[in-house]
């Protein structure tokens, strides 16, 4: 693939400015959604483990 054809693909006939932000925001949204869910579940697991530890008479 030559540099010219790559540049042509990137510019999307001048519409690149509109096409690429759509791809970018979609990727960002999916990443943020996964991150937020992971954070939520980690926070919860940490809380339960901590309370379990507090209540465990053996510790």
């Amino acid at each position: 693939m030559s540099i010219e054809s790559l540049m042509e693909f990137w510019s999307m006939q001048g519409y690149g400015l509109y096409v690429w932000p759509c791809i970018a925001i979609t990727g960002v949204v999916l990443a943020v959604e996964i991150f937020l869910l992971q954070k939520r579940s980690r926070r919860h697991l940490k809380r339960i483990r901590k309370s379990e530890f507090d209540h465990d008479p053996a510790s």
């Binding site: 869910l37 579940s41 919860h44």
Partner: protein, 251 residues
């Protein structure tokens, strides 16, 4: 015979049965999502021809149409679970409503964003108060309202019922979005794909849209199953069955 079959499926209405099942299903849907999205992007951006009237700007369709469909479809699925929850009093159905709402909100947001970036080069504006765009914005607000309502009511049983009722009331907005381009004079173009007419677009374009839709659908299933697992973890902390699952890593 039928009752045995029925019981076999009903058993997954129990969070204790559903939790491990969801965990096993997630990797399958993630794989489907990745494979179809990669092929879909490949078909949409490298194989499908340039649109005769809109040029390369039309390629936004491969994101815009799938996320818009999903934003409406997720709401209908939530409506289904809300109704089942209210009728049969199954806790898991309400949890599915909560698990789907954030993904629905993200899809509605993406629909509006990609729509704005498509509208600017083709209509000359990011936004108009047109029937299709406005009803989609209302859909986003409905999702946000359901999420806010579930966070606002402390008592889970009351929160579940309130969210289910709000979800069901909002279902009326879905046909309004879908038929808005027919019922009103809108700037938005009519449906790209119709079940009653022969396709008016190149077959590769159609395939690109279908593959991307399957990709977003599989992603939605995977992330909402994961979120439902977290929801179950949060609610069933006191139950005995959950103890061994807590030793595992985060879902």
């Amino acid at each position: 015979m039928e009752s045995i079959e029925q019981r076999r499926w009903m058993r997954f209405a129990s969070p204790a049965e559903f939790y491990p099942l969801a965990g096993r299903l997630v990797p399958v849907f993630i794989a489907v999502a990745i494979i179809t999205a990669v092929i879909g992007i490949g078909v949409g951006f490298f194989v499908a021809p340039t649109d005769a009237t809109q040029g390369e700007a039309y390629r936004i369709i491969y994101l815009h149409v799938p996320v818009s469909w999903m934003s409406m479809f997720i709401y209908l699925v939530m409506g289904f679970w809300a109704a089942i929850g209210l009728i049969m009093q199954t806790r898991l159905s309400f949890m599915m409503v909560h698990a789907l709402a954030p993904t629905g909100a993200w899809m509605a947001f993406l629909s509006l964003w990609t729509g704005a970036f498509w509208g600017k080069p083709t209509w000359g504006t990011w936004w108009v108060w047109d029937a299709r765009l406005t009803s989609e914005l209302i859909l986003l607000f409905l999702y946000l309202a359901i999420i806010a309502l579930s966070a606002a009511i402390e008592d889970k049983r009351r929160s579940d019922r309130a969210c289910a009722l709000l979800t069901l009331v909002g279902v009326v907005n879905i046909p309004i979005i879908y038929f808005s381009v027919i019922w009103w004079n809108t700037l938005h173009q009519g449906a790209s794909i119709s079940f009653s007419k022969a396709p008016t677009m190149a077959t590769t374009m159609l395939w690109g849209i279908v593959l991307m839709t399957v990709g977003f659908w599989a992603y939605t299933v995977a992330i909402s199953l994961l979120r439902c697992r977290v929801e179950i973890l949060e609610r069933e902390t006191e139950s005995d069955w959950i103890r061994p699952h807590l030793r595992q890593r985060a879902p």
